[in-house]
């Protein structure tokens, strides 16, 4: 349990104790002190707990474990451990190029609280498909992968700006930066999760620390 969660749990438990006191002895609200207690216990603390809970859930939705908690995402989780450097997500995950506990969110940033309304509606559709429908197989992105997700780390890096493949044609870099030339769907970095190849793949086993 993280520190923030511990604080939230403590706030919730404290709220429950205060509210239980009022439920058992509602007559104390007849006094001025009781009225103030009721205001704090029945309005301030629940609002605080609710707000902190929303924040905690939103933060948790960024974690790799959260994304992989749905069965349909299992293969995508496995693809992060493929022992082959040509698999872009696997390389980023295994070499700590992205934080492992937020690996999905680092490269797919157009969801969570700051995603738009259509992202939220798609999320609801996913929940429906998960429980009542049939998730599409294979899973596809709704929109072509945006180079922005790569550039928020690689832009300005020497390995990106001075790479021979990127500088041979002077138009290449400007087109990549303008999202006109995709990093992932051209033949340059096109081995992404490739879950269809997992049966033949070998997997990296993390050494125990």
């Amino acid at each position: 349990m993280t520190g923030n969660t511990t604080i939230l749990v403590a706030v919730i438990l404290f709220s429950i104790i205060l509210i239980a006191w009022l439920v058992l002895r509602p007559s104390i609200t007849a006094t001025r002190g009781g009225k103030m207690l009721a205001f704090v216990a029945l309005l301030i603390f629940p609002a605080l707990s609710g707000g902190m809970g929303v924040n905690r859930h939103i933060e948790r939705s960024k974690t790799t474990n959260f994304c992989l908690s749905c069965h349909v995402m299992e293969d995508y989780g496995k693809s992060l451990r493929v022992d082959d450097r040509s698999f872009i997500p696997a390389t980023h995950f295994q070499y700590n190029l992205v934080p492992r506990d937020q690996a999905c969110y680092t490269c797919h940033t157009d969801y969570t609280m700051y995603g738009n309304v259509s992202a939220k509606l798609r999320g609801m559709k996913h929940v429906y498909a998960y429980y009542l429908g049939k998730p599409s197989q294979p899973i596809k992105l709704y929109q072509p992968y945006n180079n922005r997700e790569c550039l928020h780390c690689h832009l300005g890096a020497r390995s990106f700006e001075e790479s021979e493949a990127h500088t041979k044609d002077p138009q290449t870099l400007p087109r990549i930066k303008a999202n006109q030339l995709s990093c992932s769907t051209t033949e340059c970095h096109n081995i992404i999760h490739n879950v269809g190849q997992l049966k033949e793949a070998t997997f990296w086993k993390e050494q125990a620390k």
Binding site: L8, I19, A47, G50, F66
Partner: protein, 70 residues
Amino acid sequence: MKIQLTKIERRIRLAGILLIAGLLVELVTLRWAHPTAFLFFLLLGGALMAAGIGVYLLSLVSDENKPSPE
């Protein structure tokens, strides 16, 4: 001997029960790392807490709180 509760006290009790239920839902969903947990938290826990706060606020503006005419 059964103690008679006033209307306000009954509403405060109801508000408290709804809020405790909402907070318990929040507590449970915090232990469950799954997208459905967020939906439960928001739709069930949020609804219970909103209802509890609503009932409490209603008790503040109920007739019994109005001063009697002199």
